[in-house]
């Protein structure tokens, strides 16, 4: 209906956004009639979300005209922010920011480089930036999950770890079962989402390609490729992160440096 009134794409988009806003406000009115008053939060969230996403769109409009190199620079910046975010999950672990940065940098970096080299990811910035950021975001999630789980495992098994040390085991052996549990825990959601792919949900990339008019089978295959990359990057990242952190929680004299609850 809207496209009968708005012929140029920009005004059409703005009109579509307005309709969506009215729909959300309608929901808000129904909710407030039911006694659920979230007017302020909803209005702020709508304005904020709209401004943020349009700002990103505007920046991308500018960035997409730049050289490929700028894409890699942006991805590197994203990795820094991702490590900063993952660090919050790892309060109490030594040097968590750097550990997260190594994990995300090497994990996401090598997958992006490999896939770009193989031609799976196009070096066109319109592909490199969104797909790259997706890989980095998943790498960050894997790091957070692995560090969080690792920390939990270690703190609940301090007695077992120190018993192993007291029996003359090297730190590597003492920590192994808990490091393995952390990596496994960070991979399970990825395996589950790959397993339910297409049945329970049609994820973003495929949805976007379908909206953009791509061939459905082509879109489906590319979605599969993205999911497989996400699985690979998650596994690689959490392995690297866990391997590094598992060394850092021991002192040179092979003492466990963190206690049951700090």
């Amino acid at each position: 209906m809207l496209n009968q009134f708005f012929t140029d794409p920009i005004s059409l988009s703005v009109a579509q956004a307005l309709v969506a806003v009215f729909m959300a406000i309608g929901m808000m009115l129904i909710a407030s009639w039911a006694g659920i008053h979230l007017e302020k939060e909803i209005l702020i969230a709508l304005v904020r979300g709209l401004v943020q996403v349009v700002a990103v769109g505007a920046i991308l409009l500018y960035v997409f005209q730049g050289p490929t190199l700028i894409g890699f620079a942006i991805l590197a910046g994203m990795m820094l922010l991702a490590a900063k975010t993952a660090e919050k999950r790892a309060r109490g672990l030594p040097d968590a920011f750097r550990v997260g940065l190594y994990g995300i940098g090497v994990g996401a970096g090598s997958i992006i480089a490999l896939m770009t080299w193989a031609g799976v990811i196009d070096t066109k910035l319109t592909v490199l930036i969104p797909i790259g950021s997706m890989i980095i975001a998943n790498s960050m999630n894997a790091t957070s999950l692995a560090l969080d789980r690792f920390q939990g495992e270690v703190r609940t098994h301090v007695g077992h770890i120190e018993t192993a040390l007291a029996l003359g085991a090297p730190p590597k052996t003492a920590i192994r079962p808990y490091a393995q549990a952390a990596v496994r825990a960070s991979l399970i959601p990825r395996i589950d989402s790959l397993r339910s792919l297409g049945i329970v949900w049609i994820p973003g990339v495929m949805a976007g390609m379908l909206l953009g008019g791509s061939h459905p089978v082509h879109a489906a295959l590319y979605q599969f490729v993205v999911m497989a990359m996400i699985l690979a990057v998650s596994g690689l990242t959490s392995l690297i992160t866990t391997l590094i952190i598992a060394r850092r929680i021991f002192t040179p004299a092979e003492q466990l440096a963190i206690g049951p609850g700090e």
Partner: protein
């Protein structure tokens, strides 16, 4: 009674051993000698630093100051794994690793590439009165049985000294008496040098050749059980 100063050189010696956490001493300038085949019982109120002292002796924690000598040798000269092989530890909880009893007993020697034979495992299990328990899953052991497996696991390393951190206090009365009697027998027969931490003064009197009393990280008194405990 022979005077202890005439005894041979100490197996374990702590000299000025101190550990501070956030600037606060939890073990404060402790100097003590433990002679071969001697049991030193360490008593004191909770928070006195008894367990912290034990953890310094096998270097599970790093002293802020002071040093431990094992057979006259500065323990920092030994790789930590070698030190811990020689100075075994029994904790309050058994902390068995998931799986079979035999795997737990194999754990220590395996770290040095030694694989215990089934006969050796059976001999160690018989030593702790658990014959035939080799294939039992550790999740199916009682508290007393689990602690005895932990003892067999520590003995599998052939330690020269044993650190015991309240080894019977998590057990029920019956198991407590049985495990204490078992430890007494093993210590005597193997001639093990022991530091036995307990909050139970009667146990300290029964087990200790000498008793050390700690309070607020300091060593207050060391001597014959009746001297220290009746003072």
């Amino acid at each position: 009674m022979t005077h202890l100063n005439d005894a041979p050189s100490p197996r374990l010696e702590a000299r000025n051993l101190t550990r501070k956490v956030d600037g606060k001493p939890i073990v404060d300038r402790v100097s003590i000698k433990v002679f071969p085949a001697e049991v030193l019982a360490v008593v004191g109120p909770s928070g006195a630093g008894k367990s912290s002292l034990l953890r310094l002796i096998n270097r599970l924690d790093e002293p802020t100051d002071g040093v431990v000598f094992l057979d006259g040798r500065d323990y920092r000269e030994l790789p930590p794994r070698e030190l811990r092989r020689k100075v075994g530890m029994i904790m309050q909880m058994p902390y068995l690793f998931p799986g079979a009893v035999a795997e737990n007993i194999r754990f220590g020697p395996r770290q040095r590439g030694e694989d215990l034979s089934d006969d050796e495992i059976e001999r160690l299990l018989a030593r702790v009165n658990l014959p035939g328990f080799s294939h039992r899953d550790v999740s199916r052991l009682s508290g007393g049985e689990a602690q005895r497996v932990a003892i067999a696991r520590a003995l599998a390393n052939n330690p020269e000294a044993l650190l015991l951190d309240e080894p019977t206090s998590a057990l029920d009365e019956e198991a407590k008496a049985a495990v204490e009697a078992l430890l007494a027998e093993i210590i005597r027969e193997e001639g093990l040098t022991c530091v036995w931490v307990t909050h139970d003064l009667a146990q300290a009197a029964r087990m200790g050749d000498r008793v050390a009393l700690m309070e607020a990280g300091r060593l207050l008194r060391v001597g014959a059980p009746e001297e220290v405990l009746n003072a």
